[in-house]
């Protein structure tokens, strides 16, 4: 791999990172906080590509031997950097969704020592993780008498029971695990897996087991549901 080819690859790689971080594309793969660092890293990559070309054009013909004399210093493995460029610019794979939810067991919920009251409003808008934790470890005490509204995509278990799911990401999508909440009662949920829904309902003491890892799954008594557009930040 010669210097110009390396410069082109660096430029494309940096450009792909910049494109992903300047649009909302990066939210499918990493957390929001990484954005400024991604922009800086992409810019640094593009700059080093430009500087490589600049020094190459300025180079005296006698300097040419600098990098060419010893072949083992030419990293051929660098060609692989084309793959993420293609993946980001041509494919732009979607955020993890119902496939992962079907493959992996629901995330292990941590018990909180103290559950603050639900946010104000009727219905109260809360996340799936928050709901499941309050339901399982607090027996729904802090959910009592309130209507809640949650957003997630449909994931169907082996037994055909529809569940509302969302992928929980602690660092990047590689560690993404689903959080699942079973849906019971209310109008029949007859949309295909992967459809994003807004569900309004109430706490129920019903419990289920995740078919993949046998972890406890909380249920919600559905009052109504409606399909919605996927949110900008699909992970929880």
């Amino acid at each position: 791999m010669n210097r110009q080819a390396q410069a082109v690859v660096l430029f494309l790689f940096g450009g792909a990172i910049l494109k992903a971080s300047l649009t909302d594309l990066y939210l499918r793969y990493v957390k929001e906080g990484l954005r400024p660092f991604l922009i800086a890293a992409g810019a640094a990559l593009v700059l080093s590509a430009i500087m490589t070309i600049w020094y190459d054009l300025r180079a005296q013909p006698s300097d040419d031997g600098d990098d060419h004399g010893h072949a083992h210093h030419e990293p051929r493995v660098g060609w692989f950097l084309i793959l993420p460029v293609l993946a980001l610019l041509l494919v732009a794979p979607p955020a993890l969704g119902s496939y992962t939810a079907g493959q992996s067991g629901t995330v292990q919920i941590n018990a909180e020592s103290d559950y603050p009251p639900l946010p104000a409003g009727d219905p109260a808008v809360i996340g799936l993780l928050d709901y499941a934790s309050r339901a399982i470890y607090d027996d729904g005490r802090s959910l009592d008498g309130r209507r809640v509204r949650m957003t997630g995509f449909v994931s169907t278990g082996d037994d055909g029971v529809p569940m509302l799911a969302r992928i929980v990401v602690s660092c990047c999508a590689a560690d993404g695990r689903p959080i699942k909440v079973g849906l019971t009662g209310g109008p029949l949920v007859d949309v295909p897996a992967g459809t994003w829904l807004q569900v309004t309902g109430r706490y129920t003491a019903q419990r289920g087991k995740d078919p993949v890892n046998q972890a406890d799954i909380a249920y919600v008594e559905v009052e109504q549901w409606q399909p919605v557009d996927p949110p900008k930040q699909q992970y929880e």
């Binding site: 210093h73 990293p75 660098g78 794979p93 119902s98 660092c171």
Partner: protein, 323 residues
Amino acid sequence: MTDTLERKRTRSVEVEALAVILVLLVIFRESISGFIDGAALQTWITVFVSVLVQAVPFLVFGVLLSAVIAVFVPRSFWARALPRHPALAVPAASVAGVVLPGCECGAVPIAGSLIRRGVTPAAALAFLLAAPAINPIVLTATAVAFPGNPEMVLARGLASLVVAVLMGWLWLRLGKTEWIRLPHRHDEGASKGRAFWSACRHDVVHAGGFLVVGAAAAATINVVVPEAWLQTLAADPVLSVLALAVLAVLLSICSEADAFVAASLSQFSLTSRLVFLVVGPMVDLKLISMQAGVFGRGFAVRFAPATFVVAVLAAVGAGAVLL
């Protein structure tokens, strides 16, 4: 003269071939997208891209800093800064790794030039092992990857430091200087700016290429290996440690990014993931090949297995005490 012409010809062909391939890919974009409709393949690409995107800022800043130090800090500085007695120089060089950020790909050439500048090989090797594992960028990445387990950062730093010092002392007792064969350098005398950007380009392309391979392997393991199978492996304390130690060697992930891969292997115990984080920056396929290139083959075949054993033991010990 013919040689120069020949070189010029191959050089242009590489860039042109790349351009042709890219144009073809853009033209046939629709049909390519059709190929990758499968949910499993899409998930693979998502995980692959996310490991890379998460690692890129750490990789780039590590390379920039290590280029600054490689180019603007005179190499003689390290020889003057270290204690004269070799047994004391080993821990000093290990601790010096803390302030020298960079991934293992950067540490190999730096260690080579330290030996060239008269630093005792034991100290240079301790530095080689410590620098990629215990510098602030890598420890920050570890803290970010394990938000719920800050003790992981401490355990990783301590275990890596212990391995580096032990291996340095081991080299003092058993090592033979003739195992190390350093190749000649060519890039002396280039201007600082040129050397800086040359180091950046080389390190990003080199380390980035290996990172892509590692991300692909990690994505494959993530998608292809059934969760139930991993859970069986992860359930056995001895098997899980050995499995992740071998995985660290095979994946060859840059130390600035490996914490994120380790975090994604959430079925495994913290101790086995600590083993992954301690072994990875010290022994892996790309490092063995780089060490064979910089220090000679006779060195690499002795140094890598010994480091592997010491690293696994130290990480298990640290895990037992701290995690």
